[in-house]
Protein backbone atom coordinates (compact mmCIF):
# COMPACT_ATOMS: atom_id res chain seq x y z
CA UNK A 1 0.00 0.00 0.00
CA UNK A 2 1.85 3.01 -1.31
CA UNK A 3 -0.75 5.33 0.09
CA UNK A 4 -0.17 4.42 3.73
CA UNK A 5 3.43 5.42 3.54
CA UNK A 6 2.43 8.88 2.42
CA UNK A 7 -0.09 9.44 5.18
CA UNK A 8 2.53 10.18 7.74
CA UNK A 9 1.93 11.22 11.33
CA UNK A 10 0.81 14.74 12.00
CA UNK A 11 3.34 16.56 14.13
CA UNK A 12 0.69 18.88 15.44
CA UNK A 13 -0.77 16.17 17.63
CA UNK A 14 2.47 16.02 19.56
CA UNK A 15 2.75 19.78 19.91
CA UNK A 16 -0.45 20.03 21.93
CA UNK A 17 1.55 18.50 24.76
CA UNK A 18 -1.03 15.87 25.58
CA UNK A 19 -0.13 12.22 25.24
CA UNK A 20 -3.45 11.27 23.66
CA UNK A 21 -5.00 13.78 21.25
CA UNK A 22 -8.72 14.25 21.79
CA UNK A 23 -9.70 15.88 18.54
CA UNK A 24 -9.40 12.83 16.22
CA UNK A 25 -11.84 11.01 18.48
CA UNK A 26 -14.23 13.95 18.28
CA UNK A 27 -13.97 13.80 14.50
CA UNK A 28 -14.69 10.07 14.57
CA UNK A 29 -17.46 10.22 17.16
CA UNK A 30 -20.53 10.70 14.90
CA UNK A 31 -19.40 7.97 12.52
CA UNK A 32 -18.52 5.62 15.37
CA UNK A 33 -21.93 6.16 16.98
CA UNK A 34 -23.72 5.38 13.74
CA UNK A 35 -21.38 2.48 13.06
CA UNK A 36 -21.79 0.89 16.50
CA UNK A 37 -25.56 1.29 16.64
CA UNK A 38 -26.44 0.31 13.08
CA UNK A 39 -23.57 -1.97 12.02
CA UNK A 40 -21.54 -3.44 14.86
CA UNK A 41 -24.28 -4.31 17.35
CA UNK A 42 -26.60 -5.59 14.58
CA UNK A 43 -24.04 -8.13 13.33
CA UNK A 44 -23.80 -9.80 16.75
CA UNK A 45 -27.49 -9.35 17.43
CA UNK A 46 -28.41 -10.93 14.15
CA UNK A 47 -25.99 -13.79 14.73
CA UNK A 48 -27.49 -14.37 18.17
CA UNK A 49 -31.03 -14.22 16.79
CA UNK A 50 -30.21 -16.90 14.25
CA UNK A 51 -30.00 -19.42 17.11
CA UNK A 52 -33.37 -18.46 18.57
CA UNK A 53 -37.01 -18.65 17.59
CA UNK A 54 -37.62 -14.93 18.20
CA UNK A 55 -40.84 -13.69 16.63
CA UNK A 56 -41.21 -10.13 18.01
CA UNK A 57 -44.17 -11.12 20.22
CA UNK A 58 -43.09 -13.94 22.53
CA UNK A 59 -39.67 -13.98 24.26
CA UNK A 60 -36.83 -15.61 22.35
CA UNK A 61 -35.88 -19.20 23.12
CA UNK A 62 -32.54 -20.74 22.26
CA UNK A 63 -33.02 -23.40 19.61
CA UNK A 64 -29.42 -24.20 18.74
CA UNK A 65 -28.72 -24.79 15.09
CA UNK A 66 -32.33 -25.68 14.32
CA UNK A 67 -32.85 -22.67 12.04
CA UNK A 68 -29.79 -23.53 9.97
CA UNK A 69 -30.76 -27.19 9.85
CA UNK A 70 -34.28 -26.31 8.80
CA UNK A 71 -33.07 -24.08 5.96
CA UNK A 72 -30.46 -26.53 4.71
CA UNK A 73 -32.24 -29.85 5.12
CA UNK A 74 -35.99 -29.33 5.41
CA UNK A 75 -36.89 -26.26 3.39
CA UNK A 76 -37.58 -26.63 -0.29
CA UNK A 77 -38.34 -22.89 -0.36
CA UNK A 78 -34.78 -22.06 0.74
CA UNK A 79 -33.27 -24.16 -2.03
CA UNK A 80 -35.73 -22.70 -4.52
CA UNK A 81 -34.49 -19.24 -3.51
CA UNK A 82 -30.89 -20.41 -3.82
CA UNK A 83 -31.55 -21.76 -7.32
CA UNK A 84 -33.19 -18.49 -8.39
CA UNK A 85 -30.32 -16.50 -6.92
CA UNK A 86 -27.81 -18.63 -8.82
CA UNK A 87 -29.66 -17.68 -12.03
CA UNK A 88 -28.94 -14.03 -11.30
CA UNK A 89 -25.30 -14.74 -10.44
CA UNK A 90 -24.76 -16.81 -13.56
CA UNK A 91 -26.24 -14.04 -15.70
CA UNK A 92 -23.64 -11.54 -14.47
CA UNK A 93 -20.88 -12.47 -16.95
CA UNK A 94 -23.38 -12.15 -19.80
CA UNK A 95 -24.26 -8.59 -18.72
CA UNK A 96 -20.57 -7.80 -18.43
CA UNK A 97 -19.95 -9.13 -21.91
CA UNK A 98 -22.50 -6.58 -23.16
CA UNK A 99 -20.79 -3.80 -21.17
CA UNK A 100 -17.38 -4.77 -22.49
CA UNK A 101 -18.54 -5.09 -26.09
CA UNK A 102 -20.25 -1.71 -25.84
CA UNK A 103 -17.05 -0.20 -24.44
CA UNK A 104 -15.07 -1.58 -27.41
CA UNK A 105 -17.75 -0.31 -29.77
CA UNK A 106 -17.84 3.18 -28.25
CA UNK A 107 -14.07 3.54 -28.22
CA UNK A 108 -13.93 2.52 -31.88
CA UNK A 109 -16.38 5.18 -33.04
CA UNK A 110 -14.70 8.16 -34.74
CA UNK A 111 -17.47 10.55 -33.67
CA UNK A 112 -20.56 10.56 -31.50
CA UNK A 113 -18.88 8.77 -28.58
CA UNK A 114 -20.36 11.17 -26.04
CA UNK A 115 -23.87 10.90 -27.48
CA UNK A 116 -23.93 7.09 -27.52
CA UNK A 117 -22.35 6.87 -24.08
CA UNK A 118 -25.07 9.18 -22.77
CA UNK A 119 -27.87 7.10 -24.31
CA UNK A 120 -26.39 3.83 -23.06
CA UNK A 121 -25.91 5.23 -19.60
CA UNK A 122 -29.30 6.92 -19.36
CA UNK A 123 -31.30 4.02 -17.85
CA UNK A 124 -28.70 3.65 -15.10
CA UNK A 125 -28.75 7.37 -14.29
CA UNK A 126 -32.52 7.34 -13.80
CA UNK A 127 -34.22 6.06 -10.68
CA UNK A 128 -33.99 2.27 -10.54
CA UNK A 129 -37.42 2.16 -8.90
CA UNK A 130 -38.92 4.23 -11.72
CA UNK A 131 -37.37 1.85 -14.25
CA UNK A 132 -39.02 -1.02 -12.36
CA UNK A 133 -42.38 0.75 -12.56
CA UNK A 134 -41.85 1.19 -16.29
CA UNK A 135 -40.94 -2.47 -16.89
CA UNK A 136 -43.94 -3.57 -14.84
CA UNK A 137 -46.17 -1.43 -17.07
CA UNK A 138 -44.63 -2.87 -20.22
CA UNK A 139 -45.36 -6.48 -19.17
CA UNK A 140 -48.72 -6.05 -17.44
CA UNK A 141 -51.75 -7.66 -19.15
CA UNK A 142 -49.81 -10.91 -19.53
CA UNK A 143 -49.64 -12.23 -23.06
CA UNK A 144 -51.32 -9.07 -24.37
CA UNK A 145 -48.69 -6.80 -22.82
CA UNK A 146 -46.97 -4.04 -24.74
CA UNK A 147 -43.66 -5.89 -24.67
CA UNK A 148 -45.22 -9.11 -25.99
CA UNK A 149 -46.76 -7.23 -28.89
CA UNK A 150 -43.56 -5.32 -29.70
CA UNK A 151 -41.47 -8.49 -29.52
CA UNK A 152 -43.94 -10.25 -31.80
CA UNK A 153 -43.70 -7.33 -34.24
CA UNK A 154 -39.94 -7.72 -34.50
CA UNK A 155 -40.14 -11.46 -35.05
CA UNK A 156 -40.33 -13.22 -31.70
CA UNK A 157 -43.02 -15.73 -30.79
CA UNK A 158 -46.47 -14.28 -30.25
CA UNK A 159 -48.09 -13.97 -26.84
CA UNK A 160 -45.02 -14.26 -24.58
CA UNK A 161 -46.35 -13.94 -21.04
CA UNK A 162 -43.72 -12.36 -18.81
CA UNK A 163 -46.04 -12.22 -15.81
CA UNK A 164 -46.41 -16.00 -15.75
CA UNK A 165 -44.29 -18.25 -13.53
CA UNK A 166 -42.33 -19.50 -16.52
CA UNK A 167 -40.84 -16.27 -17.77
CA UNK A 168 -41.01 -13.86 -14.82
CA UNK A 169 -37.53 -14.60 -13.45
CA UNK A 170 -35.94 -14.58 -16.90
CA UNK A 171 -37.60 -11.26 -17.63
CA UNK A 172 -36.37 -9.62 -14.40
CA UNK A 173 -32.83 -10.81 -15.15
CA UNK A 174 -32.92 -9.48 -18.71
CA UNK A 175 -34.58 -6.19 -17.85
CA UNK A 176 -31.99 -5.65 -15.13
CA UNK A 177 -29.25 -6.35 -17.62
CA UNK A 178 -30.76 -3.99 -20.15
CA UNK A 179 -31.11 -1.26 -17.53
CA UNK A 180 -27.86 -1.80 -15.74
CA UNK A 181 -24.99 -2.27 -18.16
CA UNK A 182 -24.14 1.45 -18.36
CA UNK A 183 -21.76 1.72 -15.38
CA UNK A 184 -19.81 -1.34 -16.50
CA UNK A 185 -19.45 0.19 -19.94
CA UNK A 186 -18.08 3.46 -18.49
CA UNK A 187 -15.60 1.57 -16.31
CA UNK A 188 -14.39 -0.56 -19.23
CA UNK A 189 -14.31 2.38 -21.59
CA UNK A 190 -11.98 4.22 -19.19
CA UNK A 191 -9.95 1.05 -18.69
CA UNK A 192 -9.55 0.56 -22.44
CA UNK A 193 -8.39 4.14 -22.94
CA UNK A 194 -5.80 3.54 -20.24
CA UNK A 195 -4.18 0.73 -22.20
CA UNK A 196 -0.84 1.98 -23.45
CA UNK A 197 -0.90 2.53 -27.21
CA UNK A 198 2.70 1.33 -27.47
CA UNK A 199 1.57 -2.20 -26.69
CA UNK A 200 -0.60 -2.17 -29.81
CA UNK A 201 2.18 -0.70 -31.93
CA UNK A 202 4.51 -3.40 -30.66
CA UNK A 203 1.81 -6.03 -31.18
CA UNK A 204 1.32 -4.93 -34.77
CA UNK A 205 4.93 -5.87 -35.51
CA UNK A 206 4.19 -9.34 -34.21
CA UNK A 207 1.06 -9.60 -36.27
CA UNK A 208 -1.41 -9.01 -33.42
CA UNK A 209 -4.19 -7.00 -35.03
CA UNK A 210 -7.97 -6.98 -34.68
CA UNK A 211 -9.35 -9.76 -32.50
CA UNK A 212 -5.87 -11.08 -31.81
CA UNK A 213 -4.85 -7.73 -30.36
CA UNK A 214 -7.98 -7.74 -28.25
CA UNK A 215 -7.30 -11.19 -26.87
CA UNK A 216 -3.55 -10.92 -26.31
CA UNK A 217 -3.12 -7.22 -25.47
CA UNK A 218 -6.34 -5.56 -24.35
CA UNK A 219 -7.92 -8.22 -22.15
CA UNK A 220 -4.74 -8.98 -20.14
CA UNK A 221 -4.31 -5.24 -19.62
CA UNK A 222 -7.78 -4.76 -18.16
CA UNK A 223 -7.81 -8.12 -16.38
CA UNK A 224 -8.03 -6.62 -12.89
CA UNK A 225 -10.83 -4.25 -13.84
CA UNK A 226 -12.67 -7.14 -15.43
CA UNK A 227 -12.34 -9.39 -12.37
CA UNK A 228 -13.41 -6.58 -10.09
CA UNK A 229 -16.53 -5.83 -12.11
CA UNK A 230 -17.45 -9.52 -12.37
CA UNK A 231 -17.09 -10.14 -8.64
CA UNK A 232 -18.88 -6.99 -7.46
CA UNK A 233 -21.57 -7.76 -10.02
CA UNK A 234 -22.00 -11.23 -8.55
CA UNK A 235 -22.15 -9.88 -5.01
CA UNK A 236 -24.79 -7.40 -6.15
CA UNK A 237 -26.81 -10.12 -7.85
CA UNK A 238 -26.83 -12.14 -4.64
CA UNK A 239 -28.60 -9.23 -3.01
CA UNK A 240 -31.22 -8.68 -5.72
CA UNK A 241 -34.51 -7.55 -4.22
CA UNK A 242 -35.76 -4.24 -5.52
CA UNK A 243 -36.44 -5.18 -9.14
CA UNK A 244 -38.23 -8.40 -8.14
CA UNK A 245 -40.34 -6.55 -5.61
CA UNK A 246 -41.30 -3.61 -7.85
CA UNK A 247 -41.88 -5.56 -11.07
CA UNK A 248 -43.55 -8.38 -9.13
CA UNK A 249 -45.90 -6.13 -7.15
CA UNK A 250 -46.91 -3.88 -10.03
CA UNK A 251 -46.59 -6.20 -13.01
CA UNK A 252 -47.92 -9.49 -11.66
CA UNK A 253 -49.78 -8.40 -8.53
CA UNK A 254 -47.66 -10.67 -6.33
CA UNK A 255 -44.66 -9.38 -4.40
CA UNK A 256 -42.04 -11.64 -5.93
CA UNK A 257 -43.86 -12.90 -8.98
CA UNK A 258 -46.46 -15.65 -9.32
CA UNK A 259 -45.94 -18.92 -7.38
CA UNK A 260 -42.66 -17.74 -5.84
CA UNK A 261 -41.17 -17.70 -9.33
CA UNK A 262 -39.08 -14.66 -8.43
CA UNK A 263 -38.22 -15.62 -4.88
CA UNK A 264 -34.48 -15.20 -4.25
CA UNK A 265 -32.57 -15.08 -0.97
CA UNK A 266 -33.13 -11.48 0.11
CA UNK A 267 -36.85 -11.62 -0.70
CA UNK A 268 -37.00 -14.84 1.33
CA UNK A 269 -35.28 -13.10 4.28
CA UNK A 270 -37.66 -10.17 3.96
CA UNK A 271 -40.74 -12.36 3.73
CA UNK A 272 -39.78 -14.67 6.62
CA UNK A 273 -38.90 -11.73 8.86
CA UNK A 274 -41.54 -9.17 8.08
CA UNK A 275 -44.49 -11.21 6.84
CA UNK A 276 -44.16 -14.27 9.12
CA UNK A 277 -42.13 -12.59 11.92
CA UNK A 278 -39.69 -15.53 11.94
CA UNK A 279 -36.78 -13.28 12.90
CA UNK A 280 -34.54 -16.13 14.02
CA UNK A 281 -35.03 -18.18 10.88
CA UNK A 282 -34.61 -15.12 8.64
CA UNK A 283 -31.34 -14.25 10.42
CA UNK A 284 -30.06 -17.78 9.84
CA UNK A 285 -30.74 -17.46 6.10
CA UNK A 286 -28.99 -14.09 6.09
CA UNK A 287 -25.90 -15.65 7.65
CA UNK A 288 -25.93 -18.53 5.18
CA UNK A 289 -25.97 -15.90 2.43
CA UNK A 290 -23.22 -13.94 4.16
CA UNK A 291 -20.87 -16.91 4.13
CA UNK A 292 -21.01 -17.11 0.34
CA UNK A 293 -20.80 -13.35 -0.15
CA UNK A 294 -17.75 -13.17 2.14
CA UNK A 295 -15.81 -15.45 -0.18
CA UNK A 296 -16.71 -13.30 -3.19
CA UNK A 297 -15.93 -10.10 -1.29
CA UNK A 298 -12.47 -11.27 -0.31
CA UNK A 299 -11.88 -11.89 -4.01
CA UNK A 300 -13.18 -8.43 -4.85
CA UNK A 301 -10.90 -6.85 -2.26
CA UNK A 302 -7.99 -8.61 -3.89
CA UNK A 303 -8.84 -7.30 -7.33
CA UNK A 304 -10.09 -3.82 -6.64
CA UNK A 305 -10.01 -0.96 -4.26
CA UNK A 306 -13.10 -2.14 -2.44
CA UNK A 307 -14.75 1.19 -2.07
CA UNK A 308 -18.28 2.38 -2.27
CA UNK A 309 -19.50 -0.48 -4.39
CA UNK A 310 -19.21 -2.69 -1.36
CA UNK A 311 -20.67 -0.25 1.15
CA UNK A 312 -24.30 0.67 1.45
Amino acid sequence: MVATQQGGPVKHAKRTGRKVPVLPYVFLLPMMLSFIVFNLIPVFWSFGLSFTNYNLITPAHFVGGANYAHALFHSSLFWLAVRHTVWFVVAVPLGILISLSAAFLINALPWGQGLFRFIYYLPSALSSIAMGVLWAFLISFGSKSILSVVLHDIGFAAGLNFTGPGLFLVFVIFSGMLTGWGPGMVIFSAGLRGVNQEFYDAGKLDGAVGLKATWYITLPQIRLTLMYVVITGMIGSFQVFESLFVIGSLGTGQQFGPLNSGLTLVPLIYEKAFSYLQFGYASAIAFLMLSVILVLTVLAMRYGQGGQALGK
Binding site: H12, A125, L310
Partner: protein, 304 residues
Protein backbone atom coordinates in the same frame (compact mmCIF):
# COMPACT_ATOMS: atom_id res chain seq x y z
CA UNK B 1 -4.11 -0.21 -3.70
CA UNK B 2 -3.81 2.67 -6.07
CA UNK B 3 -2.69 6.04 -4.92
CA UNK B 4 -5.51 8.38 -5.78
CA UNK B 5 -3.27 11.25 -6.74
CA UNK B 6 -1.62 8.89 -9.15
CA UNK B 7 -4.96 7.85 -10.54
CA UNK B 8 -5.94 11.48 -11.09
CA UNK B 9 -2.59 12.13 -12.70
CA UNK B 10 -3.03 9.14 -14.92
CA UNK B 11 -6.48 10.34 -15.92
CA UNK B 12 -4.82 13.55 -17.04
CA UNK B 13 -2.34 11.47 -18.99
CA UNK B 14 -5.30 9.65 -20.44
CA UNK B 15 -6.66 12.99 -21.58
CA UNK B 16 -3.41 13.58 -23.43
CA UNK B 17 -3.75 10.10 -24.83
CA UNK B 18 -7.22 10.98 -26.02
CA UNK B 19 -5.87 14.02 -27.83
CA UNK B 20 -3.25 11.89 -29.48
CA UNK B 21 -5.94 9.42 -30.38
CA UNK B 22 -7.97 12.24 -31.88
CA UNK B 23 -5.00 13.35 -33.97
CA UNK B 24 -4.46 9.80 -35.06
CA UNK B 25 -8.11 9.49 -35.98
CA UNK B 26 -7.89 12.63 -38.10
CA UNK B 27 -4.87 11.26 -39.90
CA UNK B 28 -6.76 8.06 -40.47
CA UNK B 29 -9.64 9.94 -41.94
CA UNK B 30 -7.35 11.69 -44.38
CA UNK B 31 -6.18 8.40 -45.80
CA UNK B 32 -9.61 6.94 -45.54
CA UNK B 33 -9.95 3.81 -47.57
CA UNK B 34 -13.12 2.19 -48.74
CA UNK B 35 -12.83 -0.82 -46.38
CA UNK B 36 -12.53 1.42 -43.38
CA UNK B 37 -15.68 3.37 -44.08
CA UNK B 38 -17.60 0.13 -44.59
CA UNK B 39 -16.37 -1.01 -41.19
CA UNK B 40 -17.45 2.28 -39.62
CA UNK B 41 -20.83 1.94 -41.29
CA UNK B 42 -21.42 -1.40 -39.56
CA UNK B 43 -20.13 -0.05 -36.26
CA UNK B 44 -22.70 2.71 -36.43
CA UNK B 45 -25.44 0.29 -37.40
CA UNK B 46 -24.68 -1.73 -34.25
CA UNK B 47 -24.33 1.40 -32.10
CA UNK B 48 -27.66 2.78 -33.28
CA UNK B 49 -29.38 -0.57 -32.85
CA UNK B 50 -28.09 -0.80 -29.29
CA UNK B 51 -29.23 2.78 -28.66
CA UNK B 52 -32.70 1.89 -29.93
CA UNK B 53 -32.96 -1.11 -27.60
CA UNK B 54 -31.77 0.97 -24.65
CA UNK B 55 -34.01 3.91 -25.41
CA UNK B 56 -37.13 1.94 -26.40
CA UNK B 57 -38.65 1.63 -22.90
CA UNK B 58 -37.82 5.26 -22.11
CA UNK B 59 -39.42 6.50 -25.32
CA UNK B 60 -42.51 4.45 -24.58
CA UNK B 61 -42.62 5.96 -21.10
CA UNK B 62 -42.40 9.51 -22.40
CA UNK B 63 -45.14 9.04 -25.00
CA UNK B 64 -47.44 7.19 -22.58
CA UNK B 65 -47.41 10.21 -20.27
CA UNK B 66 -49.17 12.24 -22.97
CA UNK B 67 -51.71 9.59 -24.00
CA UNK B 68 -55.33 9.66 -22.87
CA UNK B 69 -56.28 6.61 -20.78
CA UNK B 70 -58.35 4.84 -23.44
CA UNK B 71 -55.43 5.04 -25.88
CA UNK B 72 -53.13 3.41 -23.32
CA UNK B 73 -55.55 0.51 -22.84
CA UNK B 74 -56.24 -0.11 -26.53
CA UNK B 75 -55.17 -3.43 -28.03
CA UNK B 76 -52.91 -3.91 -29.88
CA UNK B 77 -50.91 -1.13 -28.25
CA UNK B 78 -49.25 1.44 -30.47
CA UNK B 79 -46.29 3.65 -29.70
CA UNK B 80 -47.92 6.83 -31.01
CA UNK B 81 -51.39 8.07 -30.13
CA UNK B 82 -54.03 9.82 -32.20
CA UNK B 83 -54.71 12.40 -29.50
CA UNK B 84 -52.33 13.74 -26.90
CA UNK B 85 -53.20 15.21 -23.52
CA UNK B 86 -51.46 16.99 -20.68
CA UNK B 87 -53.88 15.73 -18.03
CA UNK B 88 -51.50 13.06 -16.69
CA UNK B 89 -48.98 15.75 -15.84
CA UNK B 90 -51.53 17.40 -13.54
CA UNK B 91 -51.26 14.30 -11.35
CA UNK B 92 -47.62 14.98 -10.48
CA UNK B 93 -48.59 18.49 -9.35
CA UNK B 94 -51.27 17.16 -7.01
CA UNK B 95 -50.76 16.67 -3.28
CA UNK B 96 -50.98 12.90 -3.75
CA UNK B 97 -47.67 12.90 -5.54
CA UNK B 98 -46.01 15.98 -4.06
CA UNK B 99 -46.17 14.68 -0.49
CA UNK B 100 -43.98 11.58 -1.08
CA UNK B 101 -41.86 13.66 -3.45
CA UNK B 102 -40.98 16.24 -0.81
CA UNK B 103 -40.59 13.51 1.84
CA UNK B 104 -37.97 11.94 -0.40
CA UNK B 105 -36.26 15.24 -1.21
CA UNK B 106 -36.01 16.06 2.49
CA UNK B 107 -34.68 12.64 3.50
CA UNK B 108 -32.25 12.40 0.60
CA UNK B 109 -30.79 15.91 0.92
CA UNK B 110 -30.33 15.67 4.71
CA UNK B 111 -28.79 12.20 4.37
CA UNK B 112 -26.36 13.32 1.68
CA UNK B 113 -25.18 16.36 3.66
CA UNK B 114 -24.77 14.34 6.85
CA UNK B 115 -23.04 11.50 5.01
CA UNK B 116 -20.47 13.88 3.54
CA UNK B 117 -19.93 15.60 6.90
CA UNK B 118 -19.87 12.57 9.20
CA UNK B 119 -17.89 10.27 6.92
CA UNK B 120 -15.68 13.14 5.77
CA UNK B 121 -14.63 13.93 9.35
CA UNK B 122 -14.02 10.27 10.08
CA UNK B 123 -11.99 9.80 6.90
CA UNK B 124 -9.95 12.92 7.72
CA UNK B 125 -9.18 11.67 11.24
CA UNK B 126 -8.10 8.29 9.90
CA UNK B 127 -5.98 9.76 7.12
CA UNK B 128 -4.28 12.73 8.75
CA UNK B 129 -4.19 12.12 12.49
CA UNK B 130 -2.28 9.62 14.52
CA UNK B 131 -3.93 8.34 17.68
CA UNK B 132 -4.22 5.10 19.62
CA UNK B 133 -6.72 2.74 18.04
CA UNK B 134 -6.48 4.24 14.57
CA UNK B 135 -5.50 1.01 12.85
CA UNK B 136 -8.07 -0.98 14.80
CA UNK B 137 -10.89 1.38 13.82
CA UNK B 138 -9.75 1.40 10.21
CA UNK B 139 -9.76 -2.38 9.99
CA UNK B 140 -13.11 -2.50 11.78
CA UNK B 141 -14.57 -0.29 9.05
CA UNK B 142 -12.80 -2.22 6.34
CA UNK B 143 -14.08 -5.58 7.50
CA UNK B 144 -17.63 -4.25 7.93
CA UNK B 145 -17.60 -3.44 4.22
CA UNK B 146 -17.60 -7.16 3.55
CA UNK B 147 -20.89 -7.68 5.33
CA UNK B 148 -23.95 -7.39 3.14
CA UNK B 149 -26.51 -4.86 4.21
CA UNK B 150 -29.21 -7.54 4.68
CA UNK B 151 -27.49 -8.80 7.84
CA UNK B 152 -28.30 -5.48 9.51
CA UNK B 153 -31.89 -5.42 8.34
CA UNK B 154 -33.61 -7.20 11.23
CA UNK B 155 -31.55 -5.70 14.11
CA UNK B 156 -31.78 -2.22 12.52
CA UNK B 157 -35.55 -2.61 12.55
CA UNK B 158 -35.48 -3.74 16.21
CA UNK B 159 -33.15 -0.89 17.22
CA UNK B 160 -35.29 1.73 15.50
CA UNK B 161 -38.29 0.17 17.22
CA UNK B 162 -36.58 0.35 20.64
CA UNK B 163 -35.60 3.96 19.99
CA UNK B 164 -39.28 4.68 19.38
CA UNK B 165 -38.50 5.97 15.89
CA UNK B 166 -40.59 3.55 13.82
CA UNK B 167 -42.60 5.29 11.14
CA UNK B 168 -40.55 8.51 11.21
CA UNK B 169 -38.50 10.16 8.49
CA UNK B 170 -35.66 10.53 11.01
CA UNK B 171 -35.33 6.74 11.17
CA UNK B 172 -34.55 6.61 7.46
CA UNK B 173 -31.92 9.33 7.81
CA UNK B 174 -30.05 8.07 10.88
CA UNK B 175 -29.95 4.50 9.65
CA UNK B 176 -28.27 5.64 6.42
CA UNK B 177 -25.62 8.15 7.56
CA UNK B 178 -22.61 6.09 8.52
CA UNK B 179 -21.08 4.30 5.57
CA UNK B 180 -17.81 2.45 6.04
CA UNK B 181 -17.38 2.41 2.27
CA UNK B 182 -17.53 6.21 2.14
CA UNK B 183 -15.07 6.56 5.02
CA UNK B 184 -12.69 4.21 3.24
CA UNK B 185 -12.98 6.14 -0.02
CA UNK B 186 -12.44 9.50 1.70
CA UNK B 187 -9.52 8.24 3.76
CA UNK B 188 -7.76 6.84 0.71
CA UNK B 189 -8.16 10.14 -1.10
CA UNK B 190 -7.11 12.30 1.84
CA UNK B 191 -3.92 10.29 2.34
CA UNK B 192 -2.79 11.87 -0.89
CA UNK B 193 -3.33 15.46 0.30
CA UNK B 194 -0.04 17.24 1.07
CA UNK B 195 0.76 17.45 4.78
CA UNK B 196 2.65 20.69 4.17
CA UNK B 197 -0.53 22.58 3.25
CA UNK B 198 -2.29 21.39 6.39
CA UNK B 199 0.77 22.28 8.45
CA UNK B 200 0.85 25.75 6.88
CA UNK B 201 -2.79 26.33 7.82
CA UNK B 202 -2.08 25.32 11.39
CA UNK B 203 0.99 27.55 11.58
CA UNK B 204 -1.26 30.40 10.46
CA UNK B 205 -3.24 29.71 13.59
CA UNK B 206 -6.25 27.99 12.04
CA UNK B 207 -8.05 25.66 14.43
CA UNK B 208 -8.41 22.01 13.50
CA UNK B 209 -12.05 22.60 12.59
CA UNK B 210 -11.18 25.58 10.40
CA UNK B 211 -8.40 23.57 8.77
CA UNK B 212 -10.92 20.86 7.99
CA UNK B 213 -13.59 23.12 6.54
CA UNK B 214 -11.42 25.69 4.77
CA UNK B 215 -8.40 23.66 3.66
CA UNK B 216 -9.26 19.96 3.63
CA UNK B 217 -12.81 20.13 2.26
CA UNK B 218 -11.90 22.26 -0.79
CA UNK B 219 -8.99 19.98 -1.61
CA UNK B 220 -11.09 16.84 -1.19
CA UNK B 221 -14.08 18.08 -3.23
CA UNK B 222 -13.83 15.30 -5.85
CA UNK B 223 -14.11 12.47 -3.36
CA UNK B 224 -16.72 14.27 -1.26
CA UNK B 225 -18.68 14.87 -4.47
CA UNK B 226 -18.56 11.16 -5.21
CA UNK B 227 -19.81 10.32 -1.71
CA UNK B 228 -22.60 12.88 -2.09
CA UNK B 229 -23.71 11.39 -5.42
CA UNK B 230 -23.62 7.81 -4.17
CA UNK B 231 -25.55 8.62 -1.01
CA UNK B 232 -28.07 10.66 -3.01
CA UNK B 233 -28.67 7.79 -5.44
CA UNK B 234 -28.83 5.12 -2.77
CA UNK B 235 -31.20 7.06 -0.52
CA UNK B 236 -33.41 8.31 -3.38
CA UNK B 237 -33.93 4.73 -4.54
CA UNK B 238 -33.96 3.22 -1.06
CA UNK B 239 -36.81 0.73 -0.99
CA UNK B 240 -35.94 -1.85 1.65
CA UNK B 241 -35.53 0.51 4.63
CA UNK B 242 -38.76 2.47 4.11
CA UNK B 243 -40.47 -0.85 3.47
CA UNK B 244 -39.71 -2.06 6.99
CA UNK B 245 -39.62 1.29 8.85
CA UNK B 246 -42.48 3.36 7.39
CA UNK B 247 -46.19 2.54 7.66
CA UNK B 248 -48.13 5.79 7.36
CA UNK B 249 -49.00 6.90 3.88
CA UNK B 250 -48.22 10.52 4.80
CA UNK B 251 -44.58 9.52 5.37
CA UNK B 252 -44.20 7.42 2.23
CA UNK B 253 -41.11 8.01 0.16
CA UNK B 254 -41.30 7.85 -3.63
CA UNK B 255 -40.29 4.18 -3.92
CA UNK B 256 -43.01 3.21 -1.44
CA UNK B 257 -45.51 5.49 -3.09
CA UNK B 258 -44.81 4.12 -6.57
CA UNK B 259 -45.25 0.52 -5.41
CA UNK B 260 -48.05 0.82 -2.86
CA UNK B 261 -50.20 3.68 -4.08
CA UNK B 262 -50.22 3.40 -7.85
CA UNK B 263 -52.93 5.30 -9.65
CA UNK B 264 -55.41 3.22 -11.64
CA UNK B 265 -54.35 5.25 -14.67
CA UNK B 266 -51.04 4.01 -16.16
CA UNK B 267 -50.42 7.40 -17.74
CA UNK B 268 -50.35 8.99 -14.30
CA UNK B 269 -48.02 6.26 -13.02
CA UNK B 270 -45.66 6.84 -15.91
CA UNK B 271 -45.70 10.58 -15.19
CA UNK B 272 -44.88 9.83 -11.54
CA UNK B 273 -42.06 7.47 -12.56
CA UNK B 274 -40.72 10.11 -14.94
CA UNK B 275 -40.69 12.89 -12.33
CA UNK B 276 -39.11 10.47 -9.82
CA UNK B 277 -36.26 10.02 -12.29
CA UNK B 278 -35.57 13.70 -12.83
CA UNK B 279 -33.67 14.58 -9.59
CA UNK B 280 -31.18 11.69 -9.91
CA UNK B 281 -30.70 12.65 -13.54
CA UNK B 282 -30.04 16.31 -12.64
CA UNK B 283 -27.59 15.31 -9.91
CA UNK B 284 -25.90 12.97 -12.35
CA UNK B 285 -25.59 15.61 -15.06
CA UNK B 286 -24.41 18.34 -12.66
CA UNK B 287 -21.85 16.16 -10.93
CA UNK B 288 -20.93 14.00 -13.92
CA UNK B 289 -17.35 15.22 -13.66
CA UNK B 290 -17.04 13.87 -10.13
CA UNK B 291 -18.94 10.79 -11.15
CA UNK B 292 -16.46 9.70 -13.78
CA UNK B 293 -13.68 10.40 -11.28
CA UNK B 294 -15.65 8.31 -8.81
CA UNK B 295 -15.63 5.41 -11.18
CA UNK B 296 -11.88 5.89 -11.46
CA UNK B 297 -11.68 5.91 -7.65
CA UNK B 298 -13.88 2.89 -7.06
CA UNK B 299 -13.76 0.83 -10.19
CA UNK B 300 -10.48 0.88 -11.97
CA UNK B 301 -8.03 1.11 -9.11
CA UNK B 302 -5.04 -1.07 -9.73
CA UNK B 303 -4.19 -3.55 -7.08
CA UNK B 304 -1.32 -2.72 -4.72
Amino acid sequence: MANNVDSLRSSRLQANGQQEAAIRRRQNQRRKVFGRSVRYFWLYVIAILLACITAFPLVWLLITIFKPTYEIYQYPPTLFAKIYTLSNLRYVLSGTFLQPFFNTVYITVVTSILQVLVNGLAGYALAKHRFPGRTLIFYLFLSSMMIPFQIYLIPDFLIIKHLGLLDTRTSLIISWIGSAGSVFLIRQYMLGLPDSTLEAARLDGASEWRTFFQVVVPMATPVLGVVAIFSFFSQWNNLLMPLILIHSQSRYTLPLFLVFSPSSNPGQNMAAAFVTSIPPLIVFLLLQRYFSQGIALTGTGEQG
